[in-house]
Amino acid sequence: MENSLQRRTQAIVARVQADDVISFYFDTAAGVHYSCIYADTVADKNAIGELIIKPLTELCGREDDVAKKLACPQLKPCNDEQEAVTRIAEGCAVILCGGDERLLAADVKAPPMRAVMEPPTQVAIKGPREGFTEDLKTNLGLVRKRIKSSQLCIKFVTAGKRSDTAIALCYLADVVRGGLPEKVEKSIVEKQIDLVPDSSYIAGFISRRPKSLFKRNATCEKPDVFCAKLCEGRVGIIVDGSPIALTVPYTLTEDFQTAEDYYVVSYRATFLRFLRVFAVVVGILLPSVYVCAQLFKIQLIPKKLLFKIASSVEGIPLSPSVEMLFTLIVLEVLNEASVRMPKYVGMALSVVGALVLGDTAVKAGIISTPAVIIVAFSAICLYTVPDMVETSTILRLLCLVVAGSLGLFGMLVLTAIVIAYLAGESDYGTPLLSPSAPMNFRDMRDGMYKAGLYSLNKRPEVLETRNKVRFRFDKGRN
């Protein structure tokens, strides 16, 4: 075996500094020495055997261009040892040939991954059940499966100084607004960070106001939703290692839409959208309005209900506002604990939380029954729009503090401030409250209400797409 081959191989292995990196040597039938280095944890050993070792060992003569003899579809030369090290870390097998200085990297990646499953956060009764996984290629495959157009652009960028995380920007070249993908790409690559473990890091990068309480990008776990958004003219971002894809520009209305809205009749979808808006508003405001009604304006409560409430709160040691805050905090603690706990403990926790804690607290006269009912209903309401839960729970608490301190008028002013803030905000040139502000009647067809399929023949105007028409149809045809 050639000493130089051995020396070069060991030099690369030494650079990697990881025990899962394996190197081995083999000879061709003609006696030419080769070595192969790969990371055992992320490379496919069968592929190395079938695509690299087997063709090379069967070589009878000395070939100048080894690459031509290998059946490996993705074979790239490495410029230097450092690049070879990077490729090995990605899952490639690096091949060294005795008497030849070149380094070849064969793509035989097989990182650990889970199967395509239904996403837990976006469950659909009707419609596709596939969800994104942590593997970028799988995710792109799911996108490709749905959009076979040649206009589908997938642009790879990397982020993370140390993680070198692959990020795919997806968009339809003939639809997306000119310059938008470049802006998104720029906002990703210009940020220097060590590690990008999840797409939420990228969400922070691409936002104009990362400190805002309101998010600036939509998230989706379902490839059908993702593809629909690309077709609307948005840019999709898939991050390697994250099952949650991002899309920009974002409008607040998107959170109130679900995939299923497009698979059921439009009347049902419209009803559900209004219901979601109602539920979120009620979920945020109900505890505060209840406190205000008790403290400042009992007329808001019907007389008979007032008597019931009055009998319940009789003897409660806490003031109405503190009682509600206490109950809300207990709810948040229970919620947090039940999410973090292992499932089998979570069940027990629910029983302890709901039955033992809740029931006993009411019986002990620490909190009143209406407070428990209101907090429970508020929590259920907020989960009708799960994408907004982070924001809406904070708003609910804020509203409660204002309600308990300043009353109904304080709540009204807070609402006005939130509206003023949201109405003035936009990201990537798209107003956050579109199509409500600025009002766009055409876009409203898929905004607060959902029109029939034929009415959605144009893409959202607010996205200023190059190609405005989604589909044409002959009105005379049925």
Binding site: Q299, G410, L412, T415, A416, A420, M439
Partner: protein
């Protein structure tokens, strides 16, 4: 698009809503006290005159296609333009005083059941300051949000009060002598001041054919909403109307289902009051806009906005508990500045000679 660019639709919304909502707090009871069952006629007269001014201003904006500041600057010089804009800014704060004080009284009635300290009203100044930082473009977005709120809440109040009204209270029509009607019209003239808004919006919107008519009709529609609400309020209370201070919370109180549902009509009043807040904010936004023109700097908007909010706060502190005095003064004297800025100034703008050169870039118009 400049930061002050606003859509014609949004201006229409502003003219409909803000016209109506600032007048619907105390105006109906005030007019009932002034003119009895003929309360709608002085209102219609004031509305008609101001609608004509709105049309004249809208048509002027269409013809000139430049901002009011530029109109003055090109004919009378920039210094004059700055002086007039300074007065115009102050005028917008001035005409916010009555609705602001009415708002303060309204929240005591509608939001609380006991008399509260001034502290409960202070958050409004935080909002005015915050909204004042936003450019005119955002005022348009606010209008887009507020319009459905305004329509739904007003329709709800109408629906709940219509069935309780007795329209025979209006009989005999025009029983009041014309002098009383004239005095009523003069006393309420200061409430119809929206012509001045269009002066500020001039040049900041892209004019299309027919927009002047749209703007005028919008203003008239807002005025009609006021008149309808007043009519319903008087129909419900008749001779007692003047004792019920706030039409919004009193008109629907006899709606039978409220016995079982609680005062849900108050939620409509609260939604309506949200629109009033944005209407007040527009005054501060315009003040900030005017000061930006006067000082030529928009990067210190927070100073203008803070100044405006503090001035309004000072007025509220001085005037609180003296509302009847303010009302008396307003009814007697406020028509003078209002006629000057909301009637004469828009008409005087017609006399300004048109500039021959092309409008300078970046001065508002967004083509």
């Amino acid at each position: 698009m400049t930061r002050d660019a606003i859509n014609v639709r949004q201006i229409c919304f502003i003219l409909v809503m803000y016209n109506a909502c600032t007048k619907l707090l105390l105006y109906p009871a005030f007019m009932a006290a002034q003119t009895g069952n003929a309360l709608i006629f002085p209102a219609l007269a004031d509305l008609a005159v101001q609608t004509a001014v709105v049309w004249a201003t809208a048509y002027l904006s269409a013809r000139r296609g430049e901002s009011f500041f530029d109109m003055i600057a090109s004919s009378l010089g920039r210094v004059t333009a700055k002086v007039i804009y300074a007065f115009l800014g102050a005028y917008f704060l001035f005409i916010a005083i009555v609705p602001l004080i009415e708002q303060q009284n309204f929240i005591h009635d509608a939001f609380y059941e006991t008399v509260l300290s001034l502290g409960m009203f202070l958050p409004v100044f935080a909002f005015l300051f915050y909204a004042g930082l936003k450019p005119l473009k955002d005022a348009g977005a606010f209008a887009d949000i507020c319009m459905p709120v305004f329509v739904v809440s007003l329709l709800a109040i109408w629906a709940m009060s219509a069935g309780q009204g007795n329209f025979s209270h209006f009989m005999p029509v025009l029983r009041q002598p014309l002098t009383v009607l004239g005095k009523g019209a003069l006393a309420s003239l200061y409430r119809f001041s929206e012509g001045a808004f269009l002066l500020v919006f001039a040049g900041n919107f892209k004019y299309k054919k027919g927009d002047a008519a749209k703007l005028t009709l919008s203003y008239a529609a807002g005025g009609l909403a006021v008149v309808i609400t007043m009519a319903l309020f008087y129909a419900v209370y008749g001779p007692l109307a003047e004792t019920r201070t706030f039409a919004l919370v009193n008109s629907s109180v006899f709606f039978a289902p409220l016995d079982y549902l609680g005062r849900i009509d108050l939620f409509a009043a609260y939604a309506f009051d949200l629109v009033v807040l944005f209407a007040l904010a527009l005054h501060v936004q315009i003040f900030t806009h005017c000061m930006g023109k006067v000082f030529g700097r928009t990067d210190i908007n927070f100073v203008y906005s803070a100044a405006a909010s503090l001035m309004l706060l000072a007025v509220v502190i001085v005037v609180r508990n003296k509302y009847s005095v303010l009302q008396q003064i307003a009814a007697t004297w406020f028509f003078i500045p209002v006629v000057t800025f909301s009637y004469l100034l828009p008409l005087a703008a017609w006399l300004l000679p048109q500039r021959k050169a092309e409008p300078r870039r970046g001065d508002g118009r967004h083509d």
